[in-house]
């Protein structure tokens, strides 16, 4: 009888990993909870109809990307996100990874922009799978591009903003979204459809 209970105890301990075999989400516990933030904390410096300010930024994949290189060729969607390793941002670009055809069918490229530095963005986006679009670092001079567009918040991170630029380099859509929420994909699609 005594041995039977010892065996049961051992089996229970061995069985615990099976009982608790749930596999955590890819980010595990590495997401920093920023809490609820002021929805918008900047003043736009551009408006629909303006020529999009040009920029050149380093890409996580290497090299640089210059906005004006797409002029006359592609529509461009700028996706500013506030910061790596934060809740909403971490669940935004991975969805755009599924939407590649949606962008391509509308002759558009997507440029992801964050004020984080390249190593941070490398580690963070590596959790998202192979992103098809360039991820650009607006780290130095810190947030200069975000500031030029008027989407740099007072604490030095960017807004969660979507800016659609047509192939002529003209801004056609701006959504400085509530930083606490993810812009719905269909709003981007609708803006791109409006360029046709």
């Amino acid at each position: 009888m005594k041995r039977r209970w010892i065996v049961a105890a051992v089996l229970l301990v061995l069985g615990m990993p099976v009982f608790a075999f749930g596999i955590s989400d890819v980010y595990q516990k590495n997401i920093y909870d920023v809490g609820h933030l002021k929805p918008v904390d900047s003043v736009l410096k551009v408006k629909v109809g303006d020529p999009a300010p040009d920029f050149t930024l380093p890409a996580v994949a290497g090299g640089t990307v210059t906005l004006s290189a797409y002029r006359g060729k592609k529509n461009v969607v700028l996706s500013f996100v506030p910061a790596a390793w934060t809740p909403v941002c971490s669940d935004q670009w991975p969805g755009y990874n599924l939407a590649r055809k949606i962008f391509e069918n509308r002759n558009a490229v997507l440029l992801g922009i964050s004020v984080d530095n390249i190593p941070t963005l490398f580690a963070w986006t590596g959790q998202m799978g192979d992103l098809w679009f360039p991820v650009l670092s607006d780290f130095w001079p810190h947030g200069a591009v975000a500031k030029r567009y008027g989407v740099l918040r007072s604490n030095g991170v960017a807004e969660r903003a979507i800016i659609v630029i047509d192939r002529n380099g003209i801004i056609r859509y701006i959504d400085v979204h509530d930083i606490n929420e993810r812009p719905p994909l269909e709003s981007i699609v609708k803006a791109l459809d409006g360029l046709r």
Binding site: M1, L12, M16, S24, D25, R182, V189
Partner: protein, 198 residues
């Protein structure tokens, strides 16, 4: 002084009850425990007739897990924006196929997905990207996700109807299905379903 073996038995039983009452790893925040009914979960009856037939529903309006015809319902909480959900989508489809190809199991198990924070459009992109064959529902305002304790995704809840037809939670877990055969065997074991093991 040595403690008699029957006292160790009492200690063991106490520890076992304690361990088994703790939710599985990663279910932190999930406000339900096995045996709860989840009866307040309400979803719209699908407009697609094939999905209505799959779930055993008719008419319009909303339905609850109790309205689903099969005795076991697996609810997947996912997001189009979740990399883990994307990687696991193919495994979930394999799981669905395993169930549907088994004459006994296909009468007993249904699966549906709820896209946390996903609009119907975004759910549609996920469905199309991975060819998801079972019904998916949007939860754009996170209403359901909040009710479920804002669990990480993917998250699975297995319900089984009791003798009175009330669906009761059998288990809940965070993480992907990974290997469909193993997950199905686990589901069969935990729900006590009779059927051919894969």
């Amino acid at each position: 002084m040595r403690r008699p073996w029957w006292k160790w038995k009492a200690v063991f039983l106490s520890v076992a009850v304690l361990l088994l009452s703790v939710p599985a790893h990663g279910t932190a925040g999930f406000p339900y425990v096995p045996g709860d009914s989840l009866e307040d979960l309400s979803l719209p009856v699908p407009a697609d007739g094939a999905y209505r037939a799959y779930l055993g529903l008719s008419g319009s309006g909303n339905f609850t897990p109790a309205d689903v015809s099969a005795p076991v319902l697996l609810i997947q909480i996912f997001s189009m924006y979740c990399p883990h959900c994307q990687r696991d989508a193919g495994n979930v489809n394999v799981f669905y196929d395993l169930v549907e190809k088994d004459p006994a199991l296909r009468k007993q198990i249904r699966i549906l997905g709820i896209g946390a924070g996903n609009s119907p459009y975004e759910v549609g992109v996920f469905r199309e990207s991975y060819g998801v064959p079972f019904p998916l529902f949007g939860d754009g305002d996170y209403r359901i996700h909040k009710k479920l304790g804002e669990v990480r995704t993917p998250f699975y809840i297995a319900l089984k109807k009791d003798g009175k037809g009330v669906p009761r939670i059998v288990f809940a877990r965070v993480g992907g299905i990974e290997k469909a055969e193993d997950f199905l065997a686990f589901l069969i074991r935990e729900t006590g379903l009779e059927g051919k093991k894969p």
